[in-house]
Symmetry: C2
Subunit: 98 residues, 2 copies
Amino acid sequence: MTQVITKKGNRTKDEMIYLKAFPLRTIEEIPKIKDDVSNKMIIILRVTPLAQKNVEDLKEAIEDLYDFSTSIGGDIARLGEERVAITPPGVKIWRGLV
Amino acid sequence: MTQVITKKGNRTKDEMIYLKAFPLRTIEEIPKIKDDVSNKMIIILRVTPLAQKNVEDLKEAIEDLYDFSTSIGGDIARLGEERVAITPPGVKIWRGLV
């Protein structure tokens, strides 16, 4: 990885991290989510659509994403009842007291 | 800003970005949120507690955070009905189609 730093200290476009929020409707979306996280995207997944359709699929999806995020050195955590956050390496989910 | 890159290309601890999710209960929390974003934290704010208490305060808080994120070159957007994401420079909120 090459990091090119501009004069102002901002990351260049290549180094930009994106935060992408969307609903998880089927387990078939998991490979795309992994691709996104591999491409340095933070994913905020609303899991209720899949939860209402197929709890077993949701369980499998979450386990799969958990193993994936661990393997790449990223992070994963629930955000409230409805959402799961998955992050690429370099982005950690805060678990401390606020 | 100095970026120290380890052999694996990961950011060092100093360069770690944190994602922090918590509820907004009073407008008095806004300065702390700005501090957090200035310290390279991504904030996912559940705004319903303040919305239920004082809609005018919430409106003011959101406008304040909007001006702030614009001024520092960060980003801000709603995530669903209940949450607002505020990001530091270098993190953009995806608004494209998925």
